[in-house]
Symmetry: C2
Subunit: 123 residues, 2 copies
């Protein structure tokens, strides 16, 4: 019930481009060419990324007409979530977590935290 699974979830999300693709698909199903339009690389490159995401079963593609529409399939992220949960017990307190999240405000959706910086809600 699963393909060769050459790539797992951990590898799949390791690449920033693929994470951005996932984020895009979160807003709705999209065909390859439309996904490509959001990047500065060839359609072929994006197709390969989609293939890897597909192997990890994070996306699925079905051909409709002449285009292939891809859909987000977030279920495999559960494995990651579970893996992460193991390390919960090694955190002393929530402040150190929050500190790190704020400091590491990379490209990866800090919106939630940033939105809350104005409020006095200390989490």
């Amino acid at each position: 019930m699963s393909a060769a699974e050459k790539h797992d979830v951990f590898q799949a999300i390791a690449d920033p481009t693929r994470r951005k693709v996932l984020q895009l698909l979160a807003e709705g199903d999209l065909p390859i060419s439309e996904i490509t339009s959001h990047f500065s690389m060839s359609r072929t490159a994006i197709a390969k990324h989609l293939h890897i995401l597909s192997e990890a079963e994070l996306v699925s593609g079905r051909k409709v007409g002449r285009e292939k529409r891809f859909r987000l399939q977030p279920e495999p992220l559960a494995e990651l979530k579970q893996w992460l949960s193991f390390y919960d017990q090694y955190w002393d307190n929530k402040l150190s977590i929050l500190k790190h999240v704020i400091e590491n405000s990379g490209e990866n959706g800090l919106k939630v935290i940033e939105a809350e910086k104005d409020t006095d809600e200390p989490l």
Copy 2:
């Protein structure tokens, strides 16, 4: 306050060996050679993995005597957790999550779930 950070958390945990190293260090600080003894690869290889984990600030090493002891630093995992949380809204129900976790019972610590399969607690 952070090094060159050539590798981020996502890349750091992409490799199964590095995940196993993290798991080992969760039980307590260890010097390189002792970590190496748990693997079938050279000490140099493990040292490189530790370096990558170090860049991601998932571990820290301090020299004590002639050995270098490494310690788990789970804080950067918060970034991952936050990234994950974005996709929570795309899950329909918890059953699909549980289903996937059980099916994908890889090497990555399924113990919790397996222990709960006997109970009638449906999560």
